[in-house]
């Protein structure tokens, strides 16, 4: 099957404008701007059932329709912060298929009538920012960006913006603060960015992969898009597979493919022939799915879409599937995730700031074998104490792996021999 998003794997040199244009590039954008009303684009995307690929899975078209028309200007921001451990899909798109993403961004900008849109990249993506800047310059030269596009009076400009390397800036309101030049910390919601966003104006924030889907939808229509995936989760998805598998990497599969297809098929099975022990389907923010002899087939045959992953006690999220084999103890795994979240907590709200610091001490004690009898129970309590009280979702995410590991892998947590 030809790739929809990772088209560069089929077509060499797709990151060159002439190659991209030769292969149907910017036809969709031209079609949208010249032949469609902005609302029609939004309706088409709504009908396609495209859901946000950044993690939350919110329907993209619905998100656009929240933008109030009487407050201008509007902005579109592409979230290219991609900081979730285990996620590396946007990087590949931007590096090898940048024009498809930028075309998607342009279509989204037209749909919500934004004349200035941003690409927000994490600080470590400076080389991608350079590349995107060059691509944007090429597009401007070729007349795909600027004033009076295709003679319609619609004008659009794109800008890249580099963050300074903070996980929290992938949270959409923190991202907006960061673009505005402030500390990257989440805002209180409501008001939502769709009403009060960048520079207090209505703003749409979409993930890179989401945007990369748009040219296909505009060209082939909602029905064409719905050929892939399931009814509630249509389309294809890039799964970033990592951990103890033989062939880690990005794999583009229709939503609704099973874990078996991904892990055993694409990934070539568990490395060193070991046994599968746990799956983290959404990077460090996931609840860990327990896999053992009793449920191995059930888990592997679970379809990967936004609904069904819940049936095995986790969420699809950004589909950064981390495979853990039986050589690892879960106390080691959550030691890693809590370290990460403690380091990346922005410090704005108390539960995440202080809770992760506390959890880190507890998981370290457990991992190093100094834990007292009460420590494991206390870790569970602290995780519950943090969960549900934070300002943004990332605070809650920090506890997912901890609570699920404690609940599903109790045998991995030991009281120390002190």
């Amino acid at each position: 099957m030809a790739h929809l998003l990772l088209r560069h794997r089929d077509i060499p040199n797709l990151d060159q404008l002439d190659v991209y244009v030769k292969n149907g590039g910017f036809e969709a954008f031209k079609k949208a701007v010249t032949a469609m009303q902005p609302d029609a684009v939004t309706e088409e995307v709504k009908a396609s059932g495209l859901r946000g690929r950044g993690g939350a899975g919110f329907p993209t078209g619905v998100k656009w329709s929240f933008i109030p028309k009487n407050i201008t200007p509007h902005y579109v921001v592409a979230n290219a912060d991609e900081s979730e451990p285990g996620t590396f899909k946007d990087r590949e798109i931007m590096d090898f298929n940048p024009y498809q993403f930028l075309e998607g961004l342009a279509i989204a900008s037209y749909a919500v009538q934004a004349n200035l849109s941003f690409v927000y990249l994490r600080g470590e993506f400076y080389y991608l920012a350079k590349k995107l800047d060059a691509c944007i310059a090429e597009m401007e030269k070729a007349g795909y960006l600027g004033d009076n596009l295709f003679g319609t009076g619609f004008s659009l400009r794109l800008r890249t913006h580099l963050g300074a390397g903070a996980y929290i800036c992938g949270e959409e309101t923190a991202l907006l603060e960061s673009i505005e030049g402030k500390r990257g910390q989440p805002r209180v919601r409501p008001p939502f960015p769709a009403v009060v966003g960048l520079y207090s104006k209505p703003t749409v924030i979409n993930n890179v992969e989401t945007l990369a889907n748009l040219p296909y939808i505009v060209t082939n229509g909602a029905a064409g898009f719905r050929k892939f995936g399931t009814d509630k989760s249509p389309g294809v998805k890039i799964f970033s597979l990592s951990g103890n598998v033989n062939k880690p990497g990005n794999y583009e599969l229709p939503l609704g493919a099973t874990f078996r297809e991904l892990i055993m098929g694409c990934g070539g099975g568990i490395s060193d022939g070991r046994k599968l022990k746990g799956i983290m389907p959404a990077g460090a923010s996931s609840s860990i799915i327990r896999v053992d002899d009793t449920n191995l087939d059930k888990v592997l045959d679970t379809t990967m879409d936004y609904e069904n992953v819940q049936s095995v006690g986790s969420l699809l999220g950004s589909a950064s599937v981390i495979i853990i084999d039986d050589s690892h103890s879960m106390d080691w795994v959550i030691n890693k995730t809590v370290h990460f979240f403690k380091h990346e907590s922005c410090g704005k709200c108390t539960p995440c700031r202080d809770g992760n610091y506390w959890m880190l001490h507890l998981v370290e004690r457990i991992h190093e074998g100094h834990a007292s009898a009460g420590d494991i129970q206390l870790l569970k309590t602290v995780a519950n104490q943090v969960n549900g009280k934070c300002l943004c979702a990332l605070g809650d995410f920090s506890t997912m792996a901890v609570t699920s590991a404690l609940e599903r892998f109790p045998e991995d947590f030991h009281v120390g021999q002190a």
């Binding site: 209180v188 410090g347 709200c349 108390t350 009280k389 934070c390």
Partner: protein, 807 residues
Amino acid sequence: MAKLINLTINGVAVTVPDGTLVVDAAKKAGIDIPVFCYHPKMEPVGMCRQCLVEIGRPAIDRATGQPALNDDGTPKLQFMPKLETACTNPVSEGMVVLTATEKAKAGQKELLELLLTSHPLDCPICDKGGECPLQNLTVEYGSSQSRFIFDEKQRADKHVHLGELINLDRERCIQCARCIRFQRDVAGDPVLGFYQRGRLTDIVTYSDPGFDSVFSGNTTDICPVGALTTADFRFGARSWELKQSASLCAQCPVGCNVTFNTRREAKSGGVMAIKRVMPRQNEQVNETWICDKGRFAGYHYTEAESRLGLDAASMESALSQAADKLAAAKSDAVFLAGGRLSNEDFYNLKQLAAKLGAKAYLYSPMAGGEYTTAYGLGAGSNLGDLGKDDTVLVVASDLYNEAPVWHLRLKAAAKRGATLIVAAGRATKLDEFASFVVRYAYGDEVETVKGLAGKEKIGDAIKNAANLVVFYGSDGLGLAGTSALAAACADLLNGKTGKVNNGLVGVWNAPNTQGAYELGLAPAADLKSELKGKTVYVIAADPAGDDPALADALKSAKAVIAQDILATATTQMAAVVLPAAAYTEREGTYTTAERRVQRFYLAVPAKAGTRADFAIFAELGKKLGVELEGRSALLVMNKIAAEEKAFAGISYARLAEVTAQWPIVGRGDLYYGGTGYENKLGLGVHLALALTPAPSTSGRGGQMRPKENELVAVPVSKIYDLGVTMAPAKLLGQRIGAAAVGLNPVTAAKLNVENGGKVQVQVNGVTAEAIARFDESISTGVVLIYRSFGIPISEPTSVKIVVAEKA
């Protein structure tokens, strides 16, 4: 009037205006929800998460769009699965808030436990101990035991100087950002910020010198822990050992309500001493804020070593001598009184002078009081009420330096939508918040104001203003200039006289200049010639120290009687010196420039061998055969109320009245509004407008403007100077700096003067050294000379600037 919303909090029905936050609605109903980051004067941010409550909203039936009902017909409520923050959620119709359920209480307790994991066990030595929101909430909501291992606490710097005035303890900080938000949103001085992230988040100051803001002390009031404390109160006393005395700040004409905290202490020789100055809430004057000059310089001059005092016998003989001299002089006596005196003092002084047939003058660098008494703010005015459709004009005044709390309140008014017009000869801090900035050349003040009404947008804003308040000051002006400027400003107010929230306000340099004007005193147009050969009675003023020319004039006087609290150049040359009690040591009233009469109370016992000024006048009166009230300030006020029309109906009892104020501060819940004090002893009373006919406001002007190749020096003010009420404050002294002159770089280039270079200033017969500071916003040919820096300047005058030779 906003729509009213009905909701229920813990079963109590509450009705509040639309847009009210749940936490405020609860407060109004007498229900406390614990908060740290929320402050009623600032926008909510929902950072600390302490105010977790359960909120239920009426559910809507999706099918019908109507409110869903339970089986028994009551509206069905929809509760979120998570607890919500009361500080970020506005009320909505039919909302049910539960703050004390098991779930909510558990949430609050768990949150507090998390906060305490990062807090040191410092309470015994912490200056906030005893009035600390975190301490109070821990007792009320917290667990008595910690499950966190103490050794794992994060260590941080304990004693960081954020500038000379404010200390930071990084361990104690709970990252609520109240200080950062206050500086950014309320004060408009964004000099604080966060550094690092997560658990390492630190408060840092961006400015040099550190924490460079005249409102910095307020952050220590609203800091919910002991992270920010003032340097002057460091280890001064425990909060529960302090007594409270309601008083006023006497540093400027705003009249901020303050509370002096006093304590008997061994360090001060076993007597009562003022330990710190805290704001006292008066929403119509200073809200809950005070500036650093009031907090750190406030009362220090009353404790200066140069305080005067006489034993009983000497006092008696001094009084007799003074009486003899006045009796001999009769109408040849001249009374000269500074604006530091209270209304009662001015009244007795006026009576005494009148009986002698002597002239009584106010000693002030600024005139125009006849206009502020006739065109002043109407009764009931409140700068906090100004907003959309209202216009505020500030002319020739740098409020940030001259009356900081007005700066803060006008900034807030501009934010609420009032049109703020700032007209000045140089850039001021208020420009940033103004809708219109008018820049004129020094000397053009009156013409500029006269021309404002003719300008398109500004003219409309003034003419069509629902309410118009005009502030005028003495930036670059002397007596003649301010008088003409006041007249021009009053012209703008024709037709609005006496209305609420309309009027003319003089930015005086003393706390009770307005009171002196209200009681009929005014400055002499040519003071020097008035003094020659007369018996001069100088009260609460130091003309000799201010200006060598006045010192010469006093030398030519027949005799000088000086009455003051401190030894000054004038008391040194006086034949008789009468030591007066400071205002902290007695009762009295001041009239603010907004024409509000406010009471101050006794805070500490009078220094031995001093008497209140009004009592000294009464004593002299007794010797001169004039009957004056000298027993108590209250009785003097009764006489003033009976005889002075403007003061009709004012009594000490009325001045002590208090009505409910919002937000509620200073009660047990220090976490809500901070440690500023609740006002229990009087909000003050507005004067009625003087019924004298409005003075003619036409046909004056003509200011001095520099000619080609000539320099004109103009007087301007700086908040921290070397004046007598400022100099004794040691802590603030570090912020004063050296005498400086301001020059346009173009002017400076002609003189070969460098920015920051030393120059010799020859003005008013004096040669002094100063540092040159460039200011591109001022007109060429003008030299700004700061008042009270040792260079005498009272009127615009010619000046010579020479580059000082390098040593």
